[in-house]
Symmetry: C2
Subunit: 189 residues, 2 copies
Amino acid sequence: MALRNAILATLLDGESSGYDLAKSFNASVANFWTATPQQLYRELDKMESQGLVAARVVEQQRRPTKRLFSLTDAGAAELAEFTTRAPKPTAIRDELLVQVQALEAGDDKEVRRAVADRMAVAETKLKRFERLRERLLGESAEAEFLATAPRVGPYLTLARGIAFEQENIRWCETVLAVLDRRAGGDRLG
Amino acid sequence: MALRNAILATLLDGESSGYDLAKSFNASVANFWTATPQQLYRELDKMESQGLVAARVVEQQRRPTKRLFSLTDAGAAELAEFTTRAPKPTAIRDELLVQVQALEAGDDKEVRRAVADRMAVAETKLKRFERLRERLLGESAEAEFLATAPRVGPYLTLARGIAFEQENIRWCETVLAVLDRRAGGDRLG
DNA sequence: TCCTCATAGTCAACTTGTTGAGTAGATGCC
DNA sequence: GGCATCTACTCAACAAGTTGACTATGAGGA
């Protein structure tokens, strides 16, 4: 039920096609939820049949016809009700951490490479998130924005994403340093 | 395939029953992967039939018979190979963040409560992780441990979990402060 | 004595998420 | 001129994760 509500929350920003949702689920929404295009189309169809979203077919010149989805009153009510339900507890779920856990039983050079790759990805994401943050803030200072902006939800979730990626980068640096020191020690020993 | 390898990595610490694994997946392994008992039993059966783990039936007095699983050579090889494969990218997946994103369309008092609950959970987890950390370190200082300990994988993943929970707590504090300030402003305005 | 909790699981049904391929027109690039 | 890329989807099959109920035994407390 969380994917459904993540979609509804995204539609608060206005109507959107499945295709556009798929892209925004790789940009802003990716701070707190991910989904493949398949999941989105399936869920949108289901929600349309349940009256939570309304589809409007838009014929385009030079492009395939698309369907634009928007929140209905029932959809907004479902979303509001969702905010009152206890959220599931969460935890990191990361194959890279499984690999680091198994470090000594595996290939430490490959793991080192995977950690370095992850750090590069995190840096790219962080930059994207920070540009998004600038755009959200506009001219305002953070404190002013948080006190006066009509919608602070997206800013707060973005802040969580930024902190997560910063933490990722810091952790990757630590792991790389430890691996290098230990590899160096091996050569000496 | 990540659950499978998370189980194999856990069995590096020695043989374990499904029941014990279920408990450790709520303690230490929860830093980087979660699983329900159902998933574990299913996966253990599959892995046994594929020769990745070996089961040893232990009859107990005063307790139900249990099966203790241990790594086979094939299982260790599979785990080693897993560390060479590119890990999937990861992201936060958190219903609470979906709720915060939908803040202005939902019930802000309920969301506030959910954030406060999450903060309490994070604090409990953090304390547990820090006790675990002390136990892992033993008498050593961190730098010494990282340079000389035979296995640093579990320490490094635990460090990631600790940082994650600290970041959670900090973020929850921010969100609570913002919500309170805005609720206060409403009363004044 | 009954009730709850801990141990140690099994079974079935369901939802959610992933993978890969296919359709089809338009634009851009070399 | 041809080939890749972008838009905008659809279909099918599978893998992974969740939920709830059920079996059995023993220990500890009210």
